[in-house]
């Protein structure tokens, strides 16, 4: 059946960027600035790069201003290290933190509309987890564009990439990486609108496909975040790192999962269960609602699990309430107008009068495709694959370890985008690769496999079952038993999916076909996530094992997971870089295996 498919054309270029979000296009902009005229092809699943997930980031971007009289890079490094639960790589922390301000200025100079203070300078605000003096007081370290910082970055890097002459292939998916020996030479791309497969040959290929939030039922992530980049990498026999390191935000709005910011709790919002009890008093008698994200998320999940949640009939999701009714009009109108309007707009409730439903929502993937501090992809802990890079949320260098601080992701995108761009430029003098003979074979056999099935199962249903399974068994709480069940069920779901027929075998804009392909990726990423979680018999950052609630020194390393056959996961390790500690400079003692207590 795969005989019915063919490659309709071959495009040759200098650089192929797979994923045109903030990270991918910051990288493109850097390459174009260093080497104007570079022939770049950027591919995106969405209708236009501007529709990428980066567009939705609100809060801001962390950056230490060298003119700031009190803030210092070492404080930001410490916060990031502590926040990561001592699992981020210190060489990467140092590199990213130290270039934060330069990158902010780059963005501003290239036209980002950052919010200003009275002097016309870039404004800064505080954000959770960012401190001065190693945890003493809050730092003003977050630059922002009102409540749409991600959009500011996205518009900016898209504009720069466009101006520099990047060719975009929109509404298209990369399905397969091409290799000649240990060198990556491009990828196979399926153009959804045309229903065509094309080969793009490039001297350098950059993966920037973003997160994998869709493996969970409730997520703040956009519809296209299906972990494609991770699945493609695994299919190529390469590892992903720390897939079990997943962040859950305590308060997602039921059911769209939209983020309801921490501010609601800091201005006095109270979490209540079915009996309207303010339950945080039982979990954190002192801090109550203001306890750290992961603790609040676990408290909410416990309430739901023990039958004190409320079922939302429209979305079929159990939740707790956040009560904002007692807050003054001033707070509602001046301090939380934005989030209030989300409740109004997306679930038609008035937080002044109504209880509002919230549930922890999957938010961020800390792990990803392992790279070094230059975005280069590693074959194993010693060697690199030439011509292949990864950057952004799909990559893991690792700046966030097992828990990411708010505003650190945007910082990572722009700095690593730049650094990787510089490295890519070094590949451009290489010879233009030829097309490997087997280009497209993997993709064709996969697609023809989808098309020849005749089973009557419902693919949408399988996807939903998988997402609920992951939320319940590999979500906020994890146990040996639950994860093991999840692993078994994932195999069953995969078998069911493999027999299910598509509703149509058309190649042109066939949503069912694309979602079928995505389902494969979701299942693959779920599998390695669950296996990583099973193996890590400790708790660290966003990974919480009820049966092993403490962090353990024997797990002071990154997880590497390989899977070329579905279900057959092979695990390895990568050491955590502790160069700041080892160099024994000023304050080095803050960078040991410290406790993550707030």
């Amino acid at each position: 059946m795969s005989g019915i498919f063919s490659i309709s054309s071959t495009i040759k270029c200098d650089v192929l960027i797979i994923g045109a979000g903030g990270a991918g296009l910051r990288c493109a902009a850097e390459i174009l600035e260093k080497r104007p005229g570079t022939d770049i092809v950027a591919v995106t699943k969405v209708a236009n790069p501007q529709k990428s997930h980066t567009q939705t980031a609100q809060g801001g971007m962390a950056a230490v201003d060298p003119k700031d009289p009190v803030d210092k890079p070492v404080y930001h490094m410490f916060d990031t290290w502590k926040g990561s639960d001592c699992s981020a790589d210190q060489n990467v922390i140092k590199k990213i933190v130290e270039s934060g301000w330069e990158q902010t200025v780059w963005m501003e100079n290239h036209g980002m509309h950052l919010s200003r203070d009275e002097n016309g300078r870039v404004s800064k605000r505080t954000f959770g987890g960012h401190t001065l003096g190693f945890g003493e007081t809050s730092a003003f370290r977050c630059v922002f564009e009102a409540d749409r910082t991600g959009k500011g970055i996205m518009d900016n890097v898209w504009g720069e990439a466009l101006k520099g002459g990047t060719s975009f292939i929109n509404q298209a998916i990369a399905t397969e990486l091409l290799f000649t020996g240990d060198r990556c030479t491009g990828a196979v791309i399926f153009r959804e609108k045309e229903g065509e497969f094309v080969v793009v040959l490039a001297k350098a290929t950059v993966l920037a496909t973003g997160g994998d939030g869709q493996i969970f039922k409730v997520t703040t992530n956009c519809r296209q975040n299906t972990g494609d980049g991770l699945a493609i990498i695994l299919q190529s026999g390469l590892p992903v790192m720390d897939p079990e390191a997943v962040q859950f935000h305590p308060t997602g709005i039921v059911g769209p999962g939209i983020l309801a910011s921490e501010t609601l709790r800091s201005v006095g919002g109270i979490l209540r269960n079915k009996g309207l009890e303010p339950f945080m008093e039982r979990y954190a008698p002192k801090m109550k609602e203001l306890a750290p994200r992961d603790l609040v998320a676990r408290a909410i999940e416990t309430e739901v699990r023990e039958g004190r949640g409320i079922l939302n009939p429209d979305h079929n999701i159990e939740h707790v309430w956040i009560d904002l009714r007692h807050l003054s009009d001033y707070i509602h109108e001046v301090q939380i107008p934005e989030v209030s309007s989300f409740f109004k707009k997306f679930i038609n409730l008035d937080p002044k009068k109504d209880l509002c439903p919230v549930r922890p929502s999957n938010h961020y993937q800390m792990g990803g495709i392992p790279t070094n501090e230059f975005g280069e992809i590693q074959k194993n802990s010693e060697s690199l694959i030439s011509g292949l890079f990864a950057v952004g949320e799909c990559a893991s260098a690792s700046f966030h370890g097992f828990n990411r601080l708010g505003t650190n992701s945007l910082l990572e995108l722009v700095t690593m985008g730049k650094v990787t761009g510089e490295k890519v430029v070094n590949c451009l003098d290489a010879e233009q690769p030829g097309r490997p003979k087997n280009a497209g074979e993997k993709t064709f056999s996969l697609f023809s496999g989808f098309m020849k099935q005749r089973g009557r199962d419902n693919l949408g249903q399988i996807r939903e079952e998988m997402r609920i399974l992951m939320t319940e068994k590999v979500g906020v709480f994890r146990t040996e038993e639950g994860i093991s069940q999840a692993l078994e069920t994932l195999k069953e779901l995969k078998e069911r999916a493999d027999k299910a027929a598509l509703s149509s075998n058309s190649l042109i804009m066939n949503q069912d076909l694309i979602q079928r392909w995505e389902l494969n990726n979701l299942l693959v990423v779920s599998m390695v996530t669950a296996q990583g979680a099973l193996n890590r018999r400790e708790s660290r950052g966003g990974h919480f094992r009820e049966d092993f609630p403490e962090r353990k020194d024997q797990f002071n390393h990154h997880t590497l997971a390989y899977m070329t056959e579905f279900g057959d996961v092979k695990l390895g390790e990568r050491p955590i870089d502790m160069s700041i500690y080892e160099e024994k400079g000023e304050h080095y003692e803050k960078f040991g295996m410290i406790e993550r207590k707030y």
Binding site: V46, A47, N48, Q50, K51, S52, H53, Q55, T56, T104, V105, E108, N109, H110, G111, H113, R116, D117, E118, N119, G120, R121, R148, G152, N156, W158, G159, E160, L162, K163, Q171, K193, C222, R223, P256, I258, R272, K274, G275, L276, I310, N312, P313, D314, H315, W321, K345, F346, I347, N348, N458, L459, G460, Q461, L502, S503, S506, I508, M509, Q511
Partner: protein, 248 residues
């Protein structure tokens, strides 16, 4: 009040969706009957149709919380974002439980509700959504100084997400006019003190396809889901009022 009580209201809806099959080139209107809770959004309804009734119905979305502008469709003749339209609000706003849903009209349809946004974006690209040439920054290595009041004059125009609702509503926009959102992208940079290439921008704005095609009907401002007063910015541009004015 018992916190466990939730209002359970279901609506019986009819969605009459315009469909197009690129393989056969056939177009038709298909009726879907479905029952839906009050706070489902129209994107949820489309997903429900896919999962329960008809997996072949094609529609587009990405963030699904009104930040990306991918899910614009026509509902009973009005362009809007499907992710923002709640069932119970739609029933009140349109006074009916029957909804005619069609793709937006700014570009050819690829399949069903999906249009070729790439073609629509061509016009935004022509308006150059970036700084063409930056003015010299006398404070090298630092940000340009822009007073919050200067920024205030045009910051609203920077909020555009290119959903093309305005371009769909604008009678002038289809062939002869770049369209309200595209000219907005250029007006932003005419008002931005960091842009040097003002002349080139004015040329785009006052070209054949430029703002003189606009009849000041304000349909754009009326439908914009981000509540941007697009027509106000076009009016400023017609009068050439880009710079900060004293006493303004």
């Amino acid at each position: 009040m018992d916190g466990g009580m939730v209002m359970e209201t279901n609506y019986k809806l009819t969605l009459k969706i315009e469909r197009y099959d690129p393989d056969t080139k056939e177009s038709w209107v298909q009726d879907y009957q479905l029952e839906a809770g009050r706070i489902l959004r129209f994107t949820d309804l489309f997903r429900k149709i896919n999962n329960e009734l008809d997996p072949t119905l094609a529609w587009n979305s990405s963030c699904e919380h009104a930040q990306c502008g991918t899910c614009a469709v026509m509902v009973n003749g009005r362009p809007l974002l499907a992710c923002e339209l709640l069932v119970e609000n739609a029933v009140v706003q349109f006074g009916t439980t029957v909804f005619e849903i069609a793709p937006i009209t700014v570009a050819p349809v690829v399949r069903d509700l999906i249009v070729d946004l790439e073609q629509a974006y061509e016009r935004v690209n022509q308006a150059k959504p970036y700084i063409i040439k930056p003015v010299e920054n006398f404070n090298k290595g630092n940000e340009y100084q822009i007073s919050p009041r200067d920024l205030e004059r045009y910051v609203d125009a920077t909020r555009c997400i290119n959903c093309f609702c305005c371009a769909t509503a604008c009678l002038s926009s289809q062939k002869t006019f770049l369209g309200p959102n595209a000219v907005l992208a250029s007006i932003v940079r005419l008002m931005d003190p960091r842009e040097e290439a003002k002349k080139e921008r004015l040329k785009i704005l006052y070209s054949e396809k430029g703002i003189y095609r606009c009849h000041t009907s304000k349909a754009c401002s009326f439908v914009c889901p981000k509540e941007i007063d697009v027509a106000h910015f076009i009016a400023l541009a017609k009068e050439g009022r880009f710079e900060s004015e004293e006493g303004d």
